[in-house]
Each structure stands twice: as C-alpha cells, then as structure tokens.
Symmetry: C2
Subunit: 238 residues, 2 copies
Amino acid sequence: VTVWLVGAGPGDPGLVTVRGLELLRRCDVLVHDRLLAPELVAEAPGDALVLERDGLDQETVNDVLVAHGRAGREVVRLKGGDPFVFGRGGEEALALAAAGVPFGVVPGVSAIAAVPAAAGIPVTHRGLSSEVIVTAAHDAELDYARLAASGATLVFFMGLGRLGRLADGLIGAGLAADTPAAVVSRGTLPEQRAVLAPLGELAAEAAELATPALVVVGAVVGLAAALGALRSEGLALA
Amino acid sequence: VTVWLVGAGPGDPGLVTVRGLELLRRCDVLVHDRLLAPELVAEAPGDALVLERDGLDQETVNDVLVAHGRAGREVVRLKGGDPFVFGRGGEEALALAAAGVPFGVVPGVSAIAAVPAAAGIPVTHRGLSSEVIVTAAHDAELDYARLAASGATLVFFMGLGRLGRLADGLIGAGLAADTPAAVVSRGTLPEQRAVLAPLGELAAEAAELATPALVVVGAVVGLAAALGALRSEGLALA
C-alpha cells in the first residue's frame, strides 16, 4: 500500500489510533486537513513533505495523492474524525482506485459519539435510545417530520448559523420544545465548550459558541446533568 | 480519575486509540468484554487483575467498577467499539457517578463506519448519502416505513438470524429489492468476510456468515465494487 487515508479522530491528539500514528511517523508525504491538532502534524518525520489540504480543491487533492502514490511514496492523507464520515474519503479512494494506486483506509474515532461523550452524553442508552441519526444535510434537504417522529438521538454536523432554523424546523414538525439538546463546540479539545438547553432555547443559549460544533438532540442529552463533563486530562502521545 | 471506560475499537487491535492503550498498559484492574482482540487484553500489566465481563450481569459489573474505583485503583473497563454506542457505557458511568467515583471516558473507533470501510463502503458519500441511521432496535420497534423512506445509509447492529425479516420489512415498506446491501462479519479482523448483494437476496447470500456482523443498506454499498476490500495488513502495536 502506498496511500493511506487515516482518520485523526475528533480533535484530542491522544484519540488517534495506534495504527494511524505508526503510519504518520513513517510517511514520506503527509496531506492533512487544516483543523487538526498540531501535535499530530508534528509527528510526521522531519524530512517528510507536508501539505495542508485547505486551499486545494478536491480534484487537486486527488491528483496529489495519485501522483505521490504512483511514485511509490508512502503517503498519509490525515483527515479529521473518520475518513468516511463526511470526510470525502470516498472521493479520494475512488480516484486512487481509478488510477490503479494501491491504498488503504485506517478508520478514526468519529465525532458522532466522541464529541457528545466529552460533554457527558451517551448517544445510545438502554430505555432511552437505540437509534442514532447522523446528518450533514442542508436545511432544504432535511425531512423535519421524519426526524421529529423518529425517537432517535439526532446528531447534526453543521454550521451554528443554521441552529435557529434547525430548532424551529424540528419543533414545527412536532418535536417538543423541551426536548433536551446540546451544542458541543471544539469537542475533546482543551477549549471545548458545551451548552445544554431545551431545544426551544438552544439557539439563543449557544449563540456565542465557536465552530466546529456538533448539535445533539434527544432524551440521552438529559443524562449529561448526572454524568457531567467527562473530558479527560491531556495525556502525551506515547 | 480512577475508572476509565475505554473503547477498544471494532476488532483489529491496531485500531485502539493511543490514549486507550496507554491507560491499558498502566492499569491495576482490567474488566474486558469477551469479544476483544487477545492482543489488547495481553497489554495489561502482568500483575493487573484481569476480569472478563461476560458471565457477570450488568449490576455486578457496575459494582466491581465502583468497588475497585473506591479503593483508588486505576481501573480500565475495555469495551468493544465505542463505550457509548450500544455498549451500556452510560449505565456504568451513571453507577460510578452515583457512587461518587471519579471516572472518564476514552472513546473508541465504532463499528458504525469502520466495519463498512473495511469492506470498501463509505457510509457517507457526496451525491449518494449525507445521512446515516444506526440502530440496534428489535424487529417490533423498527419503523420500516420511516427507514425505507429516509434515503439514508442504514447500519444495523443485529443478529443474523433476523436478516430475512429485516430485508422483508424494508422491501415491504417500499425500499427497492435491488438496493445495494452488505453483511460484514468479523469486520477489520483477519477472518473478516463480507457479502454484497441486492437487499432482496441478502439473507440467502449471507446465510453462512458468522456473528458479530453489521448490516449496511443503501446506495453507498454500490461503491464497494470499485473500492474493493480495503482491509489493511496487520501492523503490530508500537
């Protein structure tokens, strides 16, 4: 294998996988997202070529991966969270496959469960939720009636500017305004901030939070009061 | 912190997090699920007390965690996947919180995206799916009409004995019988087997597969033909 699509995890550099870190430490070329822990980027060998993905369009990123992979270099494409959860990893994988470049995927800890956990929210809990709906859909695509009727834990990857429309949409479709909800900003990082509020008050309460942020809606959010903030102290990369 | 709920990842021991492995290597007490890589269990210190969770009921597990935590021992509760994704981590966390025992959560790589990835399936893909529905609900609780109408990638944590009923339920509710679908058994492990088939043929095709298995339904499964099996060669724990 010459090109690895590697998930960096949700933010905290200690949440990278053992395999991902091994590959990072021996790569010839690192292509990384901008919003990654600098501690991880610094793990690449001193003589590795390090490229930031942001500023390049997707086609250029694909071309860079293909070119270095064809040249036989060990390439790590380090992506926030998991490569296949809203990460365009599939597009890069398809480009590599079409070019005949050997590649592999090392999954990462997705924000889906890790960011809620860092605020004391288990996305599933016996008796409260046995289903999680994860979406990055835009407003026009969201089927509020279906989401509101699901009874599932709802996890939204989205910009905070849409938070008011999201809450209005869900409440307008029948979800109770007092449904427990949360916004977790910069989850798992030292600067993490979480706001817990009934859905009807969430947009006002969370107005000051910074992106990236995850929105969680559902009965499980009510457990955060008992579980508190579970964010761990920082541990160094071994 | 004295008790850590740690996600072991989806099977492959190299997919544990760096932090999870650090905690495992210095624990006094390890309480682990049965279906975990033996390589991970072997990482506990030689003088650590190692307990297998299976065979203990949930209340006993909670009591064991509380008792060792109260005694000030460093306890690792190692769970398959992520502690808060169908892992009863919330119940253990609530028991620890109620007892006043300090605890933390180290998320893990959930099977949600990692197991499909190991079979060449990205659970999200631009133009195909921007939503994932993950459920471990029992037949009687599944709202087939809602799932069939969602257009989302569907991920089922379930026993294979129910596969026929699941497919019939989805097709009966209007999902096309030729919707791409997959069963991935023992995902990310050397003994992984994946069956890709149209939903209407999935139960017959996958009849011989072993549990644990994950079922994936949706257009993204169609990408597996191009992406192939992405399972990586084994790399040792560093």
